[in-house]
């Protein structure tokens, strides 16, 4: 029997989205095991440093003066690079599997969203563990950070903000990687330089207008929930931008 005769007739143009989603997890190390390892590893190292300081030196941390670590971000930066790999490696492979760019992008971004949600949940788990153990009995905190949890959103707000920031970082990683595929290297650097000039010009204008005070004030007025909202807006803009860039990207080596 000829292959054509066996082939199914018309199907929905979005029928392969679940397959494109699973494609992102085809090699489970990239979006699951390695970030998880980094998450647990960074937490263990930060807590280990606190333990070392507590037991080997004179330092003692108290409820009034606890030890705060910045290791909670580690998994986010790892996922930024993993998202860049999605554009540089998974995208060309998805073309060999004959996915349309649209279906690939929807599958990839859904996968990013699920991974980000998992990160948010893991973040909340970290807060919970540190809270019930009083920072492992040493007042050492990696996740239960006051500026994140002492607002109206509480632990949930912190988890939500972590998830949305993570998703935005993944979109940024994907953006630069796909842009590198799409444009030439001189063009890529031109874009970077233009962005740098625009940022500098913005900073200069704020300086001249003496505007930093009001900007910090604006930030201090935000809660984790409102910040998550603003970040989500930027993430959505980046997602659309990514689709525009990938639409004309070619998977040549």
């Amino acid at each position: 029997m000829s292959v054509a005769a066996a082939q199914s007739s018309t199907q929905s143009s979005y029928a392969r989205i679940p397959a494109a989603f699973r494609l992102q997890f085809a090699v489970p190390s990239s979006l699951v095991w390695v970030p998880l390892m980094v998450f647990a590893g960074a937490w263990a190292i930060a807590t280990g440093i606190a333990a070392w300081l507590t037991f080997q030196t004179e330092a003692t941390f108290t409820a009034a003066e606890p030890f705060y670590a910045g290791a909670s971000q580690a998994a986010m930066w790892c996922l930024l690079f993993m998202a860049a790999y999605t554009a540089s490696h998974t995208f060309p492979f998805s073309m060999a599997l004959s996915y349309s760019r649209r279906v690939f992008v929807i599958g990839a971004f859904l996968a990013f969203a699920v991974v980000s949600a998992a990160y948010g949940i893991a973040f909340m788990f970290g807060i919970w563990v540190e809270r019930i153990t009083d920072g492992f009995g040493m007042h050492a905190y990696t996740f239960d950070l006051p500026f994140l949890v002492q607002g109206e959103g509480g632990i949930l707000g912190a988890g939500l903000l972590a998830a949305v920031v993570n998703l935005m970082l993944m979109m940024i990683g994907f953006f630069w990687s796909i842009l590198y595929r799409r444009v030439s290297v001189p063009m890529l650097w031109t874009i970077i330089l233009v962005l740098a000039v625009v940022t500098l010009a913005g900073a200069t204008l704020i300086n001249q207008a003496d505007g930093w005070g009001s900007i910090w004030e604006w930030f201090s007025r935000q809660t984790t929930l409102s910040l998550a909202g603003w970040t989500a807006l930027w993430t959505a803009i980046l997602a659309v931008l990514n689709y525009v860039v990938i639409r004309k990207a070619v998977p040549t080596p």
């Binding site: 029997m1 199907q11 004959s98 349309s100 080596p253």
Partner: protein, 316 residues
């Protein structure tokens, strides 16, 4: 919706693809018939991969139009799952093992055949526990070939599939391709710059050079376009007559001459009387001669000039 002639799988009309400073495809118009093995032949950089990229929607034409089963392939999920094109230098997901790539392919292609994929993995001796990026070039080619065959898509492209494969693996590929094609007829496009390697496989030949189609003909017809006469010099000269000589070798009094144009029945009779040998021309030799002649004359019709298409007149 469908405007393609029946039996035509791929229709390419006036396709030009320009990159910054180069023109990869230059006004290409060509059809690929359904359920046939096509050879897409040409030198390195001739435009083979560009043409396949545009046909499969991985790239798009600057001008012109491509239709597959009557529809545009670009971003078309009705058409794309029916096509498979693994590039010569295909990138895989970072750190992937063959099983990861095959599992992903099985979810992408509705006709995927696991039994075939497993059998081919054994046949090609693809190491199961080696990451694809760490594999030798031949092993990587084999992974691409397995995806192409086991996907069993209606149209499958193989881009220089033998790259890095040893002689045994190449033969295995040709054997398995023909076996599976006999059981599941489909449209296959094999790109190659080694013409004689795939000459026995292909039923139809498309020759591309500098982004232009030089030749597009069924193999049988092409083979009959020239003959090689071997024998005494004056006898060969008598039969060759005013025919164009494509190639000539002299060995003492014996000459070996390849001429363009088929022989008439009377001429075949005369060949026997003169005790000459008639040798079929290798496809590679024929294409090289025809295309270099055309390139030299700059006339796109030169490659097809001197054709005798009347089957009664054609002999070997």
């Amino acid at each position: 919706m469908s405007q393609t002639a029946p039996g035509t799988a791929i229709e390419v009309r006036g396709v030009t693809r320009r990159y910054r400073s180069t023109t990869a495809l230059d006004g290409v118009t060509v059809d690929f018939a359904e359920n046939m093995i096509h050879g897409l032949l040409g030198r390195n950089g001739a435009g083979k991969t560009s043409l396949m990229s545009v046909i499969t929607g991985q790239d798009w034409p600057t001008e012109g139009e491509v239709r597959i089963f009557g529809q545009r392939p670009h971003e078309n999920e009705q058409i794309l799952p029916r096509i498979c094109f693994v590039r010569e230098e295909q990138r895989y997901i970072d750190d992937s093992l063959p099983k990861h790539a095959f599992a992903a392919a099985s979810r992408a292609f509705p006709n995927w055949d696991w039994d075939l994929a497993d059998r081919l993995t054994e046949d090609f001796r693809v190491p199961k526990k080696t990451r694809i990026k760490k594999m030798s070039r031949g092993q990587r080619s084999a992974v691409g070939v397995i995806i192409g065959l086991a996907s069993r898509t209606e149209i499958t492209f193989f881009d220089e599939p033998y790259t890095g494969l040893d002689a045994v693996a190449r033969q295995l590929f040709y054997d398995r391709l023909l076996e599976d094609y006999a059981e599941h007829p489909r449209t296959i496009v094999l790109s190659s710059h080694l013409i004689d390697e795939i000459a026995h496989l292909v039923e139809n030949v498309v020759v591309i050079d500098r982004g232009k189609i030089l030749l597009h003909e069924p193999v049988e017809q092409l083979r009959d376009r020239a003959v090689t006469l071997v024998g005494r010099q004056e006898a060969v000269a008598e039969i060759a007559g005013s025919r164009e000589v494509l190639h000539q070798e002299q060995m003492g009094r014996i000459t070996r001459t390849t001429v363009l144009g088929a022989l008439t029945q009377a001429e075949v009779q005369r060949v026997r009387e003169l005790d000459l040998d008639l040798v079929p021309v290798s496809l590679q030799q024929l294409i090289v001669r025809l295309t270099t002649r055309q390139a030299a004359s700059g006339d796109p019709d030169a490659a097809t000039a001197g054709t005798h298409t009347d089957p009664q007149e054609v002999t070997r």
